[in-house]
């Protein structure tokens, strides 16, 4: 499970380097996200641009990360590929995340992020 992180202003961007966010990696993903976001800025964007497959375990882990961040911080998603978007939409979990088409939109959409 590989994640790459960078910080721009008060935004932490975490890119999932894997193609599949599934039952094989979901627990490790959640643990690594916990470490990557500890003591970080309030806004966290998860860049899923590389991820072409998300199953229910992967989705559960993304929701789990959202909960880990607590009420004062928020998790946003970016770079949703078609099949990942299908799972988010059918489960209606797209309603609880702010979703950006591209990571660039996500960064630009936020005042003072630069």
């Amino acid at each position: 499970m590989q994640l790459t992180t960078r910080q721009i202003g008060n935004t932490l961007i975490i890119r999932v380097a894997e193609r599949r966010l599934d039952a094989v990696v979901s627990i490790r993903f959640k643990e690594q996200m916990r470490e990557a976001t500890a003591d970080g800025p309030p806004r966290v964007i998860l860049d899923l641009g590389n991820v072409t497959f998300l199953d229910s375990s992967g989705l559960g882990a993304v929701v789990g990360v959202h909960k880990l961040l607590g009420p004062a911080r928020r998790l946003e998603l970016a770079g949703i590929t078609p099949n990942v978007g299908k799972v988010l939409q059918l489960t209606r979990m797209d309603s609880i995340f702010t979703i950006h088409r591209h990571i660039a939109d996500a960064i630009c959409s936020h005042d003072g992020a630069a």
Partner: protein, 132 residues
């Protein structure tokens, strides 16, 4: 096709089946749907039917035709708690921030038909997915 009933076994089978479907020239939306449904069905077997033992196996049949794709999964794990047509189940409510319970609703929403029977100690799940 015989699939080791492990998370890695499921992943390997999915990658192989999607590659085969892609070669048939079927559109991306369809093989994407097949991949989601098959993943949820096989992961259910790994996590529930075989939850109490290792070394289990899923016997998988994938038949693709002009109308769509038929999936048949057989395993010798614990039975499901229903038989016949898949009962209606709502996905969990998003506001409750659920971390699971998405699998069967996804299968239901993405398939034309999903039928289960238990015979001679064997689970048999048949799912049809229409070509969109």
């Amino acid at each position: 096709m015989r699939v080791a009933a492990t998370r890695q076994g499921v992943r390997r089978a999915l990658v192989r089946i999607v590659a085969e479907l892609r070669r048939t020239g079927v559109n991306e939306a369809h093989y994407g749907t097949v991949e989601i449904v098959l993943a949820e069905a096989m992961n259910n077997v790994v996590e529930h039917a075989y939850s109490d033992r290792t070394g289990g196996e899923i016997r998988l049949l994938v038949a693709h035709g002009p109308e769509g794709t038929l999936l048949q999964l057989r395993d010798r794990g614990a039975p499901l708690d229903w038989v016949g047509e898949q009962p209606y189940g709502r996905p969990p409510h998003p506001e409750t921030l659920p971390e699971g319970g998405f699998g069967w609703p996804l299968i239901r929403l993405l398939s034309e038909n999903c039928h289960y029977q238990r015979r001679n100690g064997e689970n048999c799940l048949s799912i049809t997915i229409s070509l969109s």
